[in-house]
């Protein structure tokens, strides 16, 4: 068994949704270079759905593949469904991750969540204004 599954390699070599959304509806940043991985997720929301998801990631092969997979899984989903994306489901979709790399899938789900929450809190704030 190689270190990474074919799926991980595919998402690492050809990551989906890399980049930044201009005027995003929400942004979520997690991790830092000390722990070795850092991800920023950008979301665009329309009709309670993730119309667009983009990310930037500093990190290992798994971190990049996880980011790509999370973005792909999230895109088009309702906010509720997107928030239910778990580290386990990301890892499963990637056909497994090495034990030491599992924390990357935590980070990916977290970053997406954070971006959605950012949108929700902004909306709330905006509604109040």
């Amino acid at each position: 068994m190689p270190v990474y599954s074919e799926k991980v390699m595919d998402h690492f070599m050809n990551p989906r949704n890399v980049g930044e959304i201009e005027n995003p509806d929400g942004v979520g940043e997690v991790g830092n270079p000390v722990c070795g991985d850092m991800m920023t997720f950008y979301v665009k929301v329309k009709d309670n759905r993730l119309e667009d998801v983009k990310f930037r990631t500093f990190g290992c092969g798994a971190a990049i593949a996880v980011s790509s997979m999370v973005s792909e899984m999230a895109k088009g989903k309702t906010l509720e469904k997107a928030m239910k994306i778990t580290p386990r489901s990301v890892a499963d979709k990637l056909e497994g991750l090495p034990k030491q790399k599992f924390h990357c899938s935590n980070l990916g789900a977290q970053a997406l969540n954070k971006a959605i929450k950012d949108y929700l809190s902004k909306k709330k704030g905006g509604g109040k204004k």
Binding site: E20, G36, R56, F58, I64
Partner: protein, 395 residues
């Protein structure tokens, strides 16, 4: 696709002469060297020959060579065995902050057994200042272990100067020469040490074999208890084919060392000089001059080493992002951090360790292949995006 192996610090290929030398011992001469009959004789003679070959590589006495199963075993044996043998005299051990984990973690185990361990810092090039060693030495110091060269940043340490300090104080001094023995000149008398570790797979010899040289008269406690092999200092049926291979590799290393160094040094210098010219924000790690002949190491800012490694691999280039044995651990290299690099920069570690099969074309291929890879990863990097917005945007 071009295939370029530039990870010789992780392990070197086996020379065909070495393999040929080993073959009889994977065949008809299969006896146990401890056996008193004819089947043992061939194995025993081969071990004696290998012992001499290894001794000659480091200008030592064959009786002072103990064969082990790896550089890691040699280091564990030396650090734990020397400390435990001297513990009546004191329980303080001095190591450098950039030792290989086989030394550092052995020292940690000693701490669990009641020893105290002091770490000597290094400068930004990874050099241990002998004065800093002196500063750590106490009345109860019974072992100093400082590596001859660091495998991650290639820096060669001032061992003879440190040995002057330990010898005056009669403190046993071990050096981990896994990264130098068979690669650069190693002479135990000139180094002035009392024990020295080496490993076969670092200089075109086999895996699964190393050696510990230990000066006559220096006491050591075995790591492997059992039978009376290696004069009772390392029990277990000897790995005869691998020991024979180690001997042959040592012989070849001695013969060809000057030529190999002459071949590797310009290739290394070319890479060290050119890469930072082609990629912005690349830091050379380790000492600019006092470094291993085939060793070129860098930190690439804003991106992470493993992802560089993987993309280089997709282009047929094998490199490492730290020492092989930590390649699947996550933390930034303790070596780079000890040299004062930030975690952010240390994460971008990438090292090219050249071997005797490498050519100018290999280096050119790297110089050509690497910039677009770095670029691609930087386009993905939130750190680089921030940097561009602030610094570049500010221009």
């Amino acid at each position: 696709m071009r295939k370029v192996y530039l990870d010789n610090a992780a392990t070197t290929p086996l020379l065909s002469e070495v393999r040929e030398a080993m073959m009889p011992y994977l065949g008809d001469i299969f006896g146990n060297p401890s056996s008193l009959h004819d089947w043992g004789d061939g194995a025993r003679e081969a071990m004696d020959r290998a012992r001499t070959q290894v001794a000659q590589l480091i200008s030592a006495d064959p009786d002072e060579i103990i064969f082990t199963g790896s550089g890691t075993e040699s280091n564990n044996f030396a650090v734990k065995g020397l400390a435990l043998a001297q513990q009546a005299k004191g329980k303080h051990v001095v190591v450098s902050a950039i030792e290989h984990f086989s030394v550092l973690h052995s020292a940690r185990t000693l701490e669990k057994l009641g020893f105290e361990v002091s770490e000597v810092p290094v400068d930004k090039h990874g050099v241990v200042d002998p004065d800093n060693v002196l500063r750590q030495i106490r009345k109860d110091t019974i072992l100093v272990s400082i590596m001859h060269a660091n495998g991650e940043v290639g820096t060669i340490e001032p061992i003879p100067e440190i040995a002057r300090i330990t010898r005056e104080r009669k403190i046993p001094f071990h050096t981990d020469a896994v990264a130098t023995a068979g690669i650069t000149p190693v002479n135990v008398a000139e180094l002035g040490v009392d024990a020295l570790s080496l490993a076969g797979n670092q200089f075109y010899g086999p895996k699964g074999v190393g050696a510990l040289w230990i000066r006559k008269g220096v006491r050591i406690m075995p790591l492997l208890d059992g039978g009376i092999q290696e004069e009772g200092r390392r029990a277990g049926t000897e790995n005869v084919p691998a020991i024979v291979g180690l001997g042959k590799a040592a012989e070849l290393a001695k013969t060809h060392m000057t030529d190999r160094i002459k071949q590797l040094t310009p290739l290394r210098d070319h890479l060290l000089k050119e890469l930072p010219g082609r990629i912005e924000h690349v830091v050379v790690t380790g000492h600019p001059q006092h470094r291993l002949p085939g060793h070129a190491s860098f930190c690439v800012e804003f991106i992470e080493g493993e992802s560089i490694l993987m993309l280089l691999n997709s282009k047929g280039i094998a490199v490492s992002s730290g020492s092989a044995c930590t390649s699947r651990a996550l933390k930034a290299s303790h070596v780079l951090i000890a040299m004062g690099l930030s975690h952010e920069i240390a994460q971008g570690s990438i090292l090219f360790t050249l071997g005797i099969d490498n050519t100018n074309e290999d280096i050119d291929y790297v110089l050509e292949t690497m910039p677009p890879i770095v670029d691609r990863l930087r386009q993905m990097s939130p750190l680089y995006a921030k940097f561009s917005k602030t610094v570049k945007g500010g221009k």
